[in-house]
Assembly symmetry: C2
Homo-oligomer: 200 residues x 2
């Protein structure tokens, strides 16, 4: 106990955050104690303000400080195209590509038989209401291409297809820039099965 209690307390809290180990936490405290009181106060205020003011978009489940999120408020979006994702971080990943211009629906979860999460926990009635009320033309299911994501996709597809909406699934295959020799056998099998004609 060669360091004051406040130091140890802050380091323990920072060390409990994801991706920050005990050594990195100590280094952060050393750094923060070297900053001005104003800067540290501003960081603390930013933490509290973010947690207090950020909520879920009423329409799509994205983060927002308002009633509707930036995406739902954006009038340039294709409003008849809906992308279903498991988490907001997946929405963020898709937005970073700049390749998608439709709207979203965030499930905030997935069907997970081992964790006993079934369709009932996902409030899928909000999704079906949205598809009807939003005159959605196509639903792109972008849940993760793993066991839970795939069964979630299958369940949602079966739920929505009778409603006359086009339901698609993001493509799986060999990632761009990677090597065939390092691809796992399931991915490589999928890539062979879902091969596409070469366009010249």
């Amino acid at each position: 106990m060669y360091l004051p209690k406040r130091f140890i307390d802050l380091a323990a809290r920072l060390g409990g955050l994801p991706g920050i180990g005990p050594k990195a936490a100590d280094r952060l405290v050393f750094y923060l104690l070297d900053q001005s009181e104003e800067d540290v106060q501003e960081l603390a205020d930013a933490l509290v303000a973010a947690r207090k003011e950020i909520r879920f978009c009423r329409q799509c489940g994205n983060f927002t400080q308002d009633d509707l999120c930036e995406v739902c408020q954006d009038v340039s979006r294709e409003t008849q195209l809906l992308c279903v994702v498991e988490e907001i971080r997946d929405l963020a990943a898709i937005e970073r590509t700049g390749a998608y211009h439709g709207l979203y629906y965030v499930l905030h979860g997935r069907i997970d038989p081992i964790a006993r999460v079934g369709p009932a926990e996902l409030q899928l009635n909000l999704l079906t209401e949205r598809v009807v009320a939003g005159h959605i033309r196509e639903v792109i299911i972008a849940t993760n291409p793993n066991f839970n994501g795939d069964i979630t996709a299958m369940y949602i597809a079966k739920l929505l297809m009778p409603m006359g909406v086009r339901v698609t699934r993001i493509a799986t295959g060999i990632p761009k820039g990677s090597d065939l020799e390092f691809a796992d056998m399931f991915t490589l099998t999928q890539a062979l099965e879902k091969r596409t004609d070469v366009e010249t």
Copy 2:
């Protein structure tokens, strides 16, 4: 701009901290928004309290919430043994070994000719006063074994030796558990020159 302003602001602040890149910052914000308001408030309070209440020990320059730090207040310490380090993080590294039971003097810097930091900037008169007033028997200079640390050590040694105190320098050599073949030539040269007799 698919995420609210508060999110982006907090992620930018966290991403400005050492060891936290933009992706890790985003992940931290996602995590923090998933915690209770109370937990985030407590983290913010811990930040502000640490910065406000932690100051430098009047005697040795370590962090403390009091006038004297935990080490200086510890009556079980060898009070005639003084270890000089550049920064508090060096003191922390030595404390973690559990191998040292004396007191410390933190320079909060080092002589650095390129950055135009000379002996005058280090307030070494506080060190000499301490050596006299503390009846110090031995001063272990544990500045870093690099160019700036070595000239700082040399300067301090020349300053203190006329005062009749024993002045020592931490050993340099091949780190325990490492391979000779990967040691740099300066370290290996030092390790040869400073070889010690084998005790059986």
